[in-house]
């Protein structure tokens, strides 16, 4: 799409009529926020514009520390027809994210320091910080450990073979031992392939009805059980990627209570949609993802897990695929959907509006939790701090259409859906991005 307002270097910006939330600010009072030289310079009411300042009337929207998505696939290098780092960042900004962590299943995979540095270099001019996640194993093949320490020096924030699990338990044990020395988590795509293949959707009443091979919940749970035991043994930090089943949430809950170093994340589609969508939508491949959409009971368990803190972060697993890849027979279609641009709205409608989470609780999942998991500094909303900010609403009604999509791909089940709550802009690295519809 062509943006009406291109992101641009804006060292000095005056946000009029915003409601700061975070730090000492409660979000209850409307005021103005001034940015000078990329830093928060002043917060107060009735601030007068300086001559060299860009002024934006926020129309009463909230401004919080910038959000982070710790699980995206930006496809570069190697699959730039799906997404590039640039288009991925554009999509992230539209979703309100100022930082993302990108998964290493690229071609070549992010399995050496030079690829880590390549990603960071390509992304260095973007308004969105891209933190590479390095592979656990060389070539992402699951056999021998990649050079984790070197990748960490290059800027890798965690290690994962995402897209595939670290399947060999001995490799996982070693990876947790080694990464604990580096104080970085291992993020595992929890899937026992022997149990899950050749599944194309959640195994249950709908797969039975539709005759599609199922991916059972236990394929996820068996792998998580193994990883929790290995984390307990090694003292390593296991981060359970894109959790999706009730038993999985319960296992993580119990492991946390035991003091095992485990964290987890959930995608909006897993607390919003169920496997029934595949039937309702006549085998639409935009509801095919891994983990698959599961049952209403699992959806309820995701919400309970978010409420009691078992689930730390909300992530998108933003997985762009081109139209020609997705518009095929259901069993041939690749897994995954784009998610950056709809994560906030789905969270507002499914978590905030029904009262499952308060606004500060929801923002924790978008701001503090992912950064603590990845040992990144949490941006502060205070005078003097670097301005790393997200501007957003919780009540604006808008429609997610193909025309507004910033990602290079369009594989979203939410196209055409009416949304409430929107990220209206971000400010980061001295760049102001206004998200126009």
């Amino acid at each position: 799409m062509t943006l009406k307002t291109e992101p641009r270097k804006t060292p000095s910006l005056l946000l009029k009529n915003c409601k700061p939330i975070g730090g000492i600010y409660t979000g209850n009072e409307q005021s103005d926020l001034r940015i000078r030289d990329g830093k928060i310079a002043e917060v107060g009411s009735g601030l007068a514009p300086a001559p060299d300042e860009l002024v934006h009337d926020a129309g009463g929207h909230f401004v919080s520390p910038g959000w982070m998505d710790m699980h995206v696939h930006f496809r570069e290098p190697g699959q730039e027809h799906k997404e590039t780092i640039h288009t991925g960042c554009r999509s992230a900004a539209f979703g309100g994210f100022t930082e993302v962590a990108c998964m290493p299943n690229t071609t070549p995979p992010i399995h050496t320091r030079d690829v880590v540095e390549y990603i960071r270099n390509v992304a260095s001019g973007e308004p969105v910080a891209v933190h590479p996640i390095g592979c656990v194993t060389k070539e992402r093949k699951g056999r021998s450990l990649a050079e984790m320490a070197d990748m960490k020096k290059g800027g890798a924030v965690a290690f994962s073979d995402d897209g595939d699990p670290v399947y060999d338990p001995a490799v996982m044990r070693t990876a947790l031992e080694y990464s604990s020395m580096l104080d970085r988590p291992v993020i595992n795509h929890e899937e026992d392939l022997a149990l899950s293949r050749p599944g194309h959707m959640h195994e249950g009443s709908i797969s039975t009805k539709l005759g599609l091979e199922g991916t059972p919940s236990i394929a996820e749970e068996v792998m998580i059980a193994r990883d929790l035991l290995l984390a307990e043994l090694t003292g390593g930090h296991i981060h359970v990627a894109h959790i999706s089943t009730r038993n999985a949430v319960q296992m993580v809950r119990e492991a946390k209570a035991k003091g095992i170093r485990v964290t987890t994340e959930v995608c909006p589609h897993h607390f919003d949609l169920t496997h029934e969508e595949i039937e309702k939508r006549g085998f639409d491949t935009n509801v095919k993802m891994h983990p698959p959409l599961r049952t209403q009971d699992d959806v309820d368990a995701m919400i309970e897990g978010l409420r009691d803190g078992t689930i730390d972060a909300i992530c998108t697993d933003h997985a762009p695929h081109s139209i020609e890849e997705k518009e095929v027979e259901f069993i041939y279609a690749p897994n995954g959907i784009i998610g950056l641009e709809t994560a906030w709205s789905i969270s507002v409608m499914r978590l905030l509006e029904p009262g499952h989470l308060t606004l500060p609780q929801l923002l924790e999942k978008f701001i503090r939790a992912p950064r603590e998991i990845l040992r990144l500094p949490v941006p502060a909303l205070e005078v003097g701090a670097e301005a790393n900010l997200t501007l957003f609403s919780t009540d604006e009604t808008w429609t997610y259409t193909e025309a507004v999509i910033r990602s290079k791909s369009r594989n979203s089940p939410y196209i055409g859906q009416t949304m409430r709550g929107r990220a209206t802009g971000i400010y980061h690295r001295g760049i102001w991005v206004l998200n126009e519809l």
């Binding site: 005759g211 199922g214 085998f283």
Partner: protein, 318 residues
């Protein structure tokens, strides 16, 4: 043909994607229409050129000799122009996507597409690609609606009212499209359905389909009016994980034998074919007068004629 039709109500369905989309009235209407076509097949010149202005493509991505022959014969008996598209390999391997393939074929002015594919949902996908009428001739393990219709037609030759009749389907329940369409169709017209077979060949939540479940062939045969043995797909035996130990043990536990016919004198033996003699059925059972397997094949042509006739707007133009 049109003169014999009851009333002039147009058939409301445009496609036959699966029996899930058809009401009991739709199903019974197709079956009643099929009776007339079944009579046509017994005539000296078994032709009725009701589709002579129609062009139909049989789009078969999976090998299926008998279903394709049955459709093709039905089409020729009705005077349609028929083209066959067969591809042994998937579209992704072939280089052209299914969407492009169907849109190319459709550009040649096709009225109807008969589709067979290994992926569930392909007929639904095709409706989003082209305007032609789509008939599902089997989509993976999902549905095979004309097979279920011909099975019900065959049952009705023996039991005109299927309400309360008991049908057991025996064998690989998890991977059978025949089972799914039959369960849906039979339940809609009021029959009771049981599935019977090794637990490892049952889908999870099989009871959610609204069926009785038994792992005991004796119990099943004592219960039923119709016993439909399903073909054991040999590929289930060498795909890496065997879902049951051996064909020998399968036959021991779930093969219908002559002794069963003697013990339970009332049930009728059916099979969608092709039969693995000595596996699903003892050879003599397949050839006995209790089996209606060849009737199923003949009826298949009549049922497919009826389906294509109704979906081509037969009543309105007839």
């Amino acid at each position: 043909m049109g003169g014999q039709a009851k009333g002039s109500t147009p058939f409301a369905q445009k496609h036959l994607l699966g029996l899930a989309d058809y009401s009991a009235a739709d199903i019974l209407y197709v079956l009643d229409q099929a009776k007339m076509f079944r009579e046509v097949l017994d005539r000296p010149v078994p032709k009725i050129p009701t589709l002579r202005d129609k062009t139909i493509v049989n789009l078969f991505y999976e090998n299926s000799t008998r279903t394709r022959l049955s459709f093709e014969l039905a089409q020729k008996r009705m005077g349609a122009d028929v083209v066959n598209f067969s591809a042994g390999t998937s579209s992704t391997k072939k280089g052209e996507s299914l969407k492009d393939t169907i849109r190319n074929i459709s550009s040649m002015k096709i009225d109807m597409v008969v589709s067979r594919h290994e992926s569930p949902g392909v007929p639904h996908f095709l409706t989003r690609c082209v305007d032609a009428t789509i008939i599902n001739a089997g989509d993976g393990a999902h549905e095979h609606p004309t097979q279920a219709l011909l099975d019900m037609f065959t049952m009705r030759q023996l039991a005109p009212d299927l309400r309360g009749k008991r049908v057991v389907m025996i064998g690989d329940i998890a991977h059978s499209r025949v089972v799914r369409s039959n369960i849906i169709g039979l339940r809609k017209v009021g029959a009771e359905v049981m599935v019977c077979g090794p637990k490892s060949l049952m889908p999870l939540d099989v009871r959610s389909l609204g069926v009785e479940v038994s792992f005991d062939l004796e119990e099943a045969l004592g219960w039923c009016d119709f016993a439909m043995a399903l073909r054991i797909q040999m590929e289930r035996m060498n795909g890496g994980t065997d879902l049951f130990p051996s064909l020998r043990e399968y036959h021991e536990l779930f093969g219908i034998k002559m002794a069963h016919l003697e013990r339970y004198p009332d049930f009728t033996v059916m099979h969608p074919g092709p039969v693995n003699r000595g596996v699903e059925l003892e050879s003599d059972v397949a050839d006995s007068d209790r089996a209606v397997i060849l009737n199923q094949v003949t009826n298949g042509v009549a049922v497919r004629m009826a389906v294509m006739y109704l979906l081509s707007g037969g009543l309105r133009t007839g």
